[in-house]
Subunit: 116 residues, 2 copies
């Protein structure tokens, strides 16, 4: 496996990075929903925690039937079993979704880094 | 642990999300380096793969002594053992860094999702 791999993400409905960057600890997607659109289904996960970042626009995420407002600059975590669905607001919404295995992180930052 | 947690990331040199969102599978930071600045040290990791997204601006990442250009819209993966350091370009650089344990992801997307 290469030490460094890079791609440019172009505008589009959805770009998945796992295969493109040969990721081994996460799947990451960059998503865009136009105004009034939504992910076409509710879903939950068996093992994976999802972390989202709203890059542009705003919308609503429905979590177990409860609506939460989301807008650019916000980050949120959704537990695996939660049933979720994202709806775009009136100017659309662009967001990142990061899928990682719940409980998989060991040490990080100071505990995992080697300086120099 | 809550099903859903959300925060707004404000402008600043560095915001770390692990504790703020009670993440269990990743550490994520949102970072800004002004023009001419750099991360003040070279570092590598013991176990963690890092995935970066450049949100704004451009710069250079030095990987094991080799310089690579980075700019807004690009995503890249850095293997744990690679020695890395980021330098901001002439308008600064804003980027996300996602730290996950190498090899930790099991199933994902269709293999991990439950529809409905």
């Amino acid at each position: 496996m290469k030490t460094f791999e890079k791609i440019a993400v172009k505008d589009g409905a959805r770009t998945e990075l796992h295969d493109a960057l040969h990721l081994t600890g996460a799947e990451i997607s960059v998503n865009a929903l136009p105004a009034g659109a939504s992910v076409p289904f509710v879903h939950s996960h068996k093992q994976n925690e999802e972390i989202y970042c709203v890059l542009e626009g705003c919308g609503v995420i429905e979590i177990d039937g409860q609506k939460e407002q989301i807008s650019a600059g916000e980050w949120f975590r959704v537990a695996p079993a939660a049933k979720r669905r994202i709806f775009a607001g009136d100017k659309g919404v662009k967001y990142i979704c990061i899928q990682v295995k719940q409980g998989s992180l060991g040490g990080y930052t100071a505990d995992d880094a080697i300086i120099g």
